[in-house]
């Protein structure tokens, strides 16, 4: 058996956008994306808003039906006959701790929902014991289990969301910007919790975020997305020190460092212009409209990922 838990092959997700009466244009949110995630590994996925990183996470879980491509989980292709088991073994934690918990349910019912749906208990007692255990794992006290979601702070809500994801004892969790909406001091609590849970349960993560410092901290490998494509993928420190794709380079230089002296000294590579609309994708390389090194070939064909160092791949014509 291969060491990869999740294998994504040529995944595509196009959304039909209505552009007139009964006429639609495909919005290519994710366009031909492939990667693998090993057992117990964290793959970071970074990119700017609208680059399709959240869509990748949701499409992998088949929350959106993929337009094309395959997801292979634990050696088995995810399809109609494996989806039920896959739903139990692969879970998701969302960004918004406010919209991700049903305001009409108590915490116990929110965390217990995956147990109900998958019928993972025999008696009511077994259910409440499991719910207690889960809440305990994420640091919510038992007397709070009859409270409603809106009574908790953002960080606590995110813990509840994590407890829900853990309920069906998954092996793989898609973390869709799980700390972006949290305050700095709370972020660290949640990041540490993700790390603890990973070592405790041997979880694999797809960790989606736009904050490069957070992604670098938590990930083993990082994939950088731009306009539905993965432009560079490498081991975390390798990517940080030896980024080769011009987009990754500018992204890294744009991160504001909490250090006044370095901020004064640093030369930011400020990218010109805005991200093009995914409805009107540029021909060839998607990044060429903002790239300082773009040449004629960049407009002709879309570069494929190629290995630039062991385990380090990038998609650029100028390498």
């Amino acid at each position: 058996m291969s060491n990869d838990l999740v294998e994504v092959k040529n995944l595509k997700e196009y959304f039909p956008i209505s552009t007139g009466f009964l006429r639609t244009t495909p919005l290519k949110a994710v366009d031909d994306v492939s990667f693998t995630i090993g057992r117990g590994e964290t793959l970071g996925l970074v990119g700017e808003s609208g680059c399709g990183k959240s869509t990748v996470g949701r499409t992998i879980l088949h929350l959106y039906k993929p337009t094309a491509g395959q997801v292979i989980f634990d050696g088995k292709l995810v399809g109609p006959d494996t989806i039920k088991e896959y739903r139990r073994r692969a879970q998701i934690v969302f960004q918004d701790p406010y919209s991700s918990l049903n305001p009409r349910l108590t915490v116990a019912d929110i965390v217990g929902e995956p147990l109900d749906v998958n019928k993972l208990y025999k008696t009511r007692k077994e259910r409440s014991e499991r719910v207690l255990e889960l809440l305990n794992t994420v640091g919510i006290s038992s007397e709070q289990m009859t409270r409603y979601a809106h009574e908790f702070s953002g960080g606590q809500r995110q813990r509840i969301g994590i407890a829900r994801a853990l309920a069906s004892r998954p092996e793989f969790i898609v973390c869709d910007e799980p700390v972006s909406a949290l305050d700095v001091s709370i972020q660290a609590q949640v990041i540490n919790m993700f790390e603890d849970l990973q070592s405790q349960f041997g979880l694999s993560y797809l960790f989606i975020a736009h904050d490069l410092s957070v992604v670098k901290h938590i990930s083993n490998r990082i994939a950088v997305m731009y306009l539905g494509h993965i432009v560079e993928i490498a081991e975390a420190n390798e990517l940080y020190h030896h980024a080769v794709h011009p987009y990754t380079v500018s992204l890294l230089s744009a991160v504001p460092v909490p250090d006044p002296e370095r901020a004064r000294a640093s030369q930011r590579i400020v990218l010109e212009g805005d991200v093009p609309s995914p409805l009107h994708m540029p021909s060839g390389c998607p990044f060429r409209t903002r790239c300082s090194r773009a040449t004629g070939t960049c407009a002709d064909s879309c570069p494929q990922l190629k290995e630039v160092a062991p385990g380090h791949m990038a998609a650029c014509h100028n390498l």
Binding site: E48, S49, S153, G154, G155, Q156, D183, V184, S185, I186, Q187, A188, Q189, I191, N192, E195, H210, L212, S213, V214, K216, H217, I218, N237, Y240, S250, L251, L252, S253, A254, V255, P256, V257, P258, D259, P260, E261, R262, A263, R268, V270, L271, D274, V275
Partner: protein, 356 residues
Amino acid sequence: MAMLEVKDLHTSFFTPAGEVKAVNGISFDLDSGKVLGIVGESGSGKSVTAYSILQILSHPGRIISGSIKFKGKELVGAGEEELHKIRGNKISIIFQDPMTSLNPVYTIGNQLTEAILLHTDRNKEQANARAVEMLELVGINEPEKRLRQYPYELSGGMRQRVMIAMALACEPDILIADEPTTALDVTIQAQILELMQDLQKKLGMAIIMITHDLGVIASLCDEVIVMYAGSVCERGTADEIFYHPAHEYTKGLMRSIPSIDDDEHERLVPITGTPIDLLNMPSGCPFAPRCDRAMKVCLTGRAKEVRVGSDHLSACWMNVKDGAERGVIQTDDDGNITAIDLEGNLDGTAEGGKAQ
């Protein structure tokens, strides 16, 4: 005399559940041409402070007490007409969300010239020319064409540029930027920060930068105020705050952010617990329930702001304790603490706590 003097400002929101003390006695001065950063988490009162200065608080918020003086003129209790002359003219503000701060039914040009016509005696043509000039200044190409466009036709970064153009059109003395880059992507954020830095150098206005992002503070600000639950924890020059944080909250904040340079995987040190409920404000230090080093005195009373460095004040009992143990506390004749020489760089005749 500083251009803007805020003294003991208290602002509360009177909700059905009770009084929320959003700003609980903050004071600061802003000199012309300086960039002041106010950093804090959600609920720290940083935005409410800004809204209080302009008195654009939404119901049920109200300034309870305190004084806000702009060039010596008192703004608290000033008439609507007087405030009108100052808002958008002498002090302007840009908001976090560039999507909602522009009116979608008017063109960019319409909104921009309106702001100019309102506050200056330019005629329509001159205002138009000024609008074009402003758009050029904030780095928008083809300004004439943009003036005829509607907000939805522009991207988020572009809209924030328009907002900045609008805010600066009347050459204000102070620009308040309320989380101006939070809703933007990293690369666009870099563009806007760069732009603000350039414009500040070119036009020389003072900026109050409100953000939760320490990285943004570090790249832009001369002075920093750290807020927690409506109160000032610590203030000083950016270098002092980043390199010699004195307040336990600031220290905790610095420890809890992952560093992008850290190649060895070091575990983060989070601040435990959750933020205080602003409806039930304790009499002691609001950070005490989350503070690892909290002492009995922290739970009963608030520490006064005391000078701990040459341009550095902190309101933390831990500084008092450290100072007492090391015997570096300076007092006046009445025995009141005036400074604590934590770094060994205060001379004996230094002036007392600026904020008192």
